[in-house]
């Protein structure tokens, strides 16, 4: 059995020797270079663009602007997951433009593009383009976007509101709040962060005029979707004339799913100039153009009965989507956030309002966690404050509110049905893993010595395995949720798998190979995996939403099943018996009660030789199977985290000393890879909790965190001592029982660490803490605690 083993990854060999092939490593002959001129203003009219001087510089081949895009008859960067308001009003849509036309709406907004022979010539040309701007009043604060006097970005839309999503039952919730024994209200904003995969985005496009065919190497998580969007929406090309190849991709985290403004221009100009064109983002550009995440302003109230049981939850959120709609953006606060806002608790009444808004900032879109960190921050901070105010231990408060195993499948007030889980078991495991009672004793002892230790928890649900295509469509999605797979057996019995999902670090190769190897009964070393090439792989929806194992993996599983079934039929035919009379073990078919046998490899050879095979209309030569697998449901990983902090009240510095996690991801295919996903997610979650922050100046909209000098991310020394455990309640919706395992790490830390810091400072009057929990934030919280 390979599934369940910590198999090592074959791709490591090229990565550790420096032979990975990332898009910036590709340098076609006669390659020209492209650069973008970006707005230095957050909000301004474009009065004049003059590229005359730039065009006169040596090596400059072309300068293009919005006018050229229009003249070429190109289209739009369509939002593929629109969300109307709950009252039926369509969302007020302003799509991200490839080039800003009359107005720029965020620092970094693209104004022009230059192609030249060398990168240095591109930089010189960019400096020579003259642009006259007329600055306009700036809106950079999410909380102000709906104020009557706020600057309006897109006046044709009549305001900054995009859509209003309402969920739950306001009447029932009002009653619950009014009748509650206790209520907690908090301001619970979620900080804007940037995914920052370490590989900056890069695109190389080359054009073959003799076949009118273009090849695009792209840093993308979704090669087929990207091809479709460029062809269908942007450049109006026939899809079969564009090949998209995603070679090795250096991290994505959701950033590289999106239909970014630069990619269509690279393809356009490669075709127009009839030579390869390459664009590589700098890190500063990344922070001005790659989509960002979170950025919610939330006021919420939780109601409790006298025993600390939740009786109602009211949440009012303004969610920023940036200056334009990026292609999945509305679904993050509009769908993912509501679906997990009540977490793992039986919340009888919910009143949720989410209003999405435009501000003069970089567009927001999916990033690992997408909506769940925001939801968990709200739900779990309220729960713990309520518990403390009622004098109930925070672990006990969970016990009283958690869903039980028998409650699943559980319908939430939002309408989503959670598939399976065992939250009380997870809590027991967490308490045991962390030695909770000992921690509380340690906390008391340290308090005597004037040392402030805090303990905080987060219990939460993730949402993964996107997803049933029809369901996506009813929610307005313009894309499917199935996944493609080919299992191709070669004439010698070795196998190549093709998958429409695309690894950017998650180790799909060995994961899919393990699934197929177990199903086919062959060694995992006999299998190779191909991803990321639209010419080789059937249409797939790519990797995001923790879907590759449950959807991509099941596609592989199903295709392998079909292969085995066909092989068994052929083997039976060749051994002159019936398929039921065959045993199959370790790659060998044998006739029961005799010594007649044939190997999988021999069957494969026979399938391709085709000299002797069943004389049925439905039996064809060859041994290959293509599947498009549409999952019947999403799945719900769950997790619980516990954080232990030491707070230095003299400086505000928080040391995250210990961290404990218990995860339920259903069946785990490769525990080494899953553990790596938990680690990596935790680093990003801890980052959001304690240091990451995309900051815009409130009056000018200037990006104050425009490089790694000002955008902090965790380093090795920032990671706490970690202990992890796992339970398994299989996902009912796929034969592997797999749930997505890659995002829970990002979801828990803000709540767990925030709760821990509050726990440490509660006795000093601190009730609330802002994200990120920097030393300055702690010091401010402490000052306001002293004041009250």
């Amino acid at each position: 059995m390979y599934v369940g083993q910590p198999l090592r990854r074959p791709e490591d060999q090229r990565f550790i020797t420096g032979r990975g092939k990332y898009v910036d490593d590709i340098k076609p002959e006669n390659c020209a270079y492209l650069g973008f001129l970006r707005s230095p203003h957050a909000h301004a009219k474009i009065l004049r663009i003059d590229a005359g001087k730039a065009l006169a510089l040596p090596g400059v081949l072309r300068v293009v602007t919005a006018r050229d895009w229009e003249a070429a008859g190109f289209g739009k960067l369509v939002c593929v997951h629109p969300m109307p308001s709950t009252n039926g009003q369509p969302m007020r849509e302003k799509l991200r433009p490839a080039f800003a036309a009359d107005k720029v709406n965020h620092v970094g907004d693209v104004v022009a593009a230059v192609v030249a022979e060398t990168r240095y010539q591109v930089l010189d040309a960019l400096e020579a383009i003259e642009v006259d701007y007329e600055p306009l009043p700036v809106l950079a604060e999410t909380g102000r976007a709906l104020d009557p006097d706020a600057p309006v970005l897109h006046s044709e839309l009549g305001g900054n509101l995009i859509s209003e999503i309402l969920r739950g039952d306001p009447v029932k919730t009002r009653a619950a709040l009014e009748n509650a024994a206790h209520r907690v209200s908090l301001q619970l904003n979620s900080n804007r962060v940037a995914g920052n995969p370490l590989e900056p985005r890069c695109y190389v496009a080359s054009y073959a005029p003799e076949t009118d065919h273009c090849t695009l190497w792209a840093t993308t998580q979704v090669p087929h979707m990207l091809r479709r969007w460029i062809c269908k929406y942007a450049l109006h090309l026939p899809e079969h004339k564009l090949r998209v190849i995603a070679p090795d991709v250096g991290g994505g985290f959701g950033n590289k799913v999106n239909f970014h403004v630069e990619v269509s221009t690279v393809v356009w100009l490669a075709r127009a100039l009839r030579r390869p064109v390459k664009w590589t983002a700098t890190r500063s550009e990344t922070l001005q153009s790659d989509t960002q995440a979170r950025d919610h302003v939330t006021h919420a109230t939780m109601a409790f009965d006298r025993d600390g049981r939740i009786t109602g939850l009211r949440v009012d959120t303004i969610a920023c989507l940036g200056a334009y709609l990026s292609n999945f953006a509305p679904s993050i606060p509009g769908n993912s956030y509501p679906q997990t806002i009540t977490g793992l608790y039986a919340t009888p009444a919910l009143d949720l309002r989410v209003r999405t808004v435009y501000t003069n900032t970089v567009p927001i879109d999916a990033y690992r966690g997408s909506g769940r960190p925001e939801a968990t921050w709200v739900n779990e901070r309220l729960l713990e404050n309520g518990a403390r105010e009622l004098g109930i231990d925070v672990v006990e408060a969970r016990r009283r509110n958690l869903l039980k195993k028998t409650d699943f499948p559980y319908q939430t007030p939002v309408g989503r049905v959670y598939d399976s889980g065992n939250p009380p078991e997870m809590l027991d495991r967490l308490v045991k893993l962390a030695k909770y009672d000992e921690l509380r004793r340690e906390q008391a002892a340290l308090r005597q010595q004037g040392v402030l230790m805090g303990i905080g928890l987060a219990a939460f649900l993730d949402k993964s395995g996107t997803g049933p295509s029809r369901q996506l469509s009813t929610k307005g999605g313009l894309h499917g949720g199935y996944e493609s797979a080919i299992v191709r057996v070669h004439t010698d019995g070795k196998v190549t798998l093709f998958s429409g999902s695309h690894s950017h670090g998650q180790g799909h190769s060995i994961t899919f190979a393990a699934i197929a190897a177990d199903r086919l009964g062959i060694p995992v070393s006999d299998i190779t995996v191909v991803q990321g090439d639209t010419d080789q792989v059937p249409y797939g929806n790519g990797t995001w939403g923790s879907r590759s194992a449950s959807v991509g993996g099941t596609a592989i599983y199903r295709a392998s099943e079909k292969i085995l079934k066909k092989a068994r039929r052929l083997a039976a035919h060749l051994l002159e018996t019936s398929p039921d009379n065959l045993d199959y073990d370790a790659g060998m078919f044998s006739v029961r009660g005799s010594n007649r046998k044939i190997s999988f490899g021999e069957v494969a050879d026979a399938a391709y030789h085709a000299s002797n095979y069943p004389d049925d209309l439905d039996f064809e030569p060859g041994l290959e199977c293509t599947i498009f697998y549409d999952p019947p449901d999403l799945n719900d990983p769950e997790a619980m985290h516990l954080a232990v902090v030491l707070v230095d009240i003299g400086t505000g510095r928080v040391k995250l000393r210990d961290y404990f996690t218990v995860d339920d991801m259903g069946t785990i295919i490769n525990p080494m890879i899953v553990e790596g996903q938990v680690h990596g997610g935790l680093a990003q979650g801890i980052g959001q909790a304690m240091m990451e922050h995309v900051v815009y100046d409130a009056s000018s909209g200037q990006l104050l965190s425009g490089s790694f000098m000002d955008y902090a991310m965790p380093r090795a020394g920032d990671m706490p001592r970690l202990k992890s455990d796992y339970i398994c309640t299989p996902a009912p919706s796929n034969p592997l029982g797999v749930k997505g395992g890659s995002e829970t790490g990002t979801i828990g830390p803000p709540a767990a660490i925030g709760n821990a810091v509050i726990d440490a400072l509660w006795h000093l009057g601190v009730r609330s803490i802002e994200l990120p929990i920097t030393p300055y934030a702690v010091w401010r919280a402490f000052q306001s605690g002293k004041a009250s």
Binding site: Y120, D648, R653, L704, A712, W779
Partner: protein, 272 residues
């Protein structure tokens, strides 16, 4: 990057001759500050004069009275030097906390001081230790060396050759680290010479400075409480995403208090 010419002279005299000949040439030491600026086209020297080959600039000499560190000695070397650790361990502590290990392999004391980043560590040390900056032309007392944000008393054709430190009775460096840049949000270097205390602060203002009220209080009473009692004024201090001027004012006194504790315990400081 804009284009530039490059020289790597073997001697100080050759370097100075070239700098006089080409007024828009810049010396480069470790490059840790200059090259990133050039990369962003924020600095545009017509030529770079690389000091790496000048052997004279790499000495470390310790004596009973103090320490001489050559301008081109990198931070890693200073942090590991037995001579420095025995003479003024707070300097080894400071050097070992600059940037990160890759920065420390390249960055130099001369380069750091010539660049005078308002959050760099060394400027606080030279003020607190009453150091002398030896250049190709003269010797500049620390109090006269830093003249503003990124500006020093150095002339364009003058380079730092070494820094001379007197040995204090006790010294400690407390660095409150900026998680993203690895510079200081506030850094406090404190030294005691007999009954006199000197304090150098970096990261908090337009440039490194000595908070005289703190020095007076600690000279009168060398205790953590005495430091905490001083009300540092936020006027003129930096407010940014890492903290307000008031917060920095608080940190100055708090870090000074902890530096006193370090001195009393015979330790050289810490990164917080």
């Amino acid at each position: 990057m804009y284009a530039f010419d490059y020289r790597r002279p073997a001697s100080l005299s050759e370097t100075l001759a070239y700098l006089r000949e080409k007024p828009d040439a810049k010396p480069i030491a470790g490059g840790m500050s200059l090259v990133p600026l050039m990369r962003h086209r924020m600095a545009d020297p017509a030529a770079l004069v690389d000091l790496a080959a000048i052997a004279d600039l790499k000495r470390i000499e310790a004596s009973a009275d103090g320490l001489l560190i050559g301008a081109m000695v990198n931070h890693f070397t200073v942090s590991q030097s037995e001579a420095v650790k025995l003479c003024i361990p707070a300097i080894a502590q400071l050097a070992g906390g600059i940037g990160d290990p890759l920065v420390r392999n390249r960055g130099t004391i001369g380069g750091s001081l010539a660049h005078a980043d308002p959050a760099a560590c060394y400027p606080s040390a030279i003020l607190a230790l009453d150091a002398v900056i030896e250049t190709s032309a003269r010797a500049i007392p620390a109090d006269d060396f830093i003249t503003g944000m990124f500006s020093t008393a150095l002339k364009p054709d003058e380079i730092i050759t070494a820094v001379r430190f007197r040995r204090p009775d006790a010294a400690a460096y407390m660095k409150f680290i900026n998680a993203s840049s690895r510079f200081s949000i506030v850094g406090v270097f404190l030294s005691r010479f007999g009954n006199g205390v000197r304090v150098g602060v970096t990261g908090a203002g337009q440039h490194a400075f000595r908070p005289r009220a703190l020095e007076e209080a600690l000279s009168a009473e060398f205790s953590p409480d005495a430091a905490r009692r001083v009300a540092i004024s936020p006027d003129g201090l930096i407010s940014d995403i890492n903290g307000s001027a008031e917060y920095r004012a608080h940190l100055i006194a708090e870090l000074a208090a902890r530096a006193v504790t370090e001195c009393q315990a015979g330790r050289a400081g810490a990164i917080l």
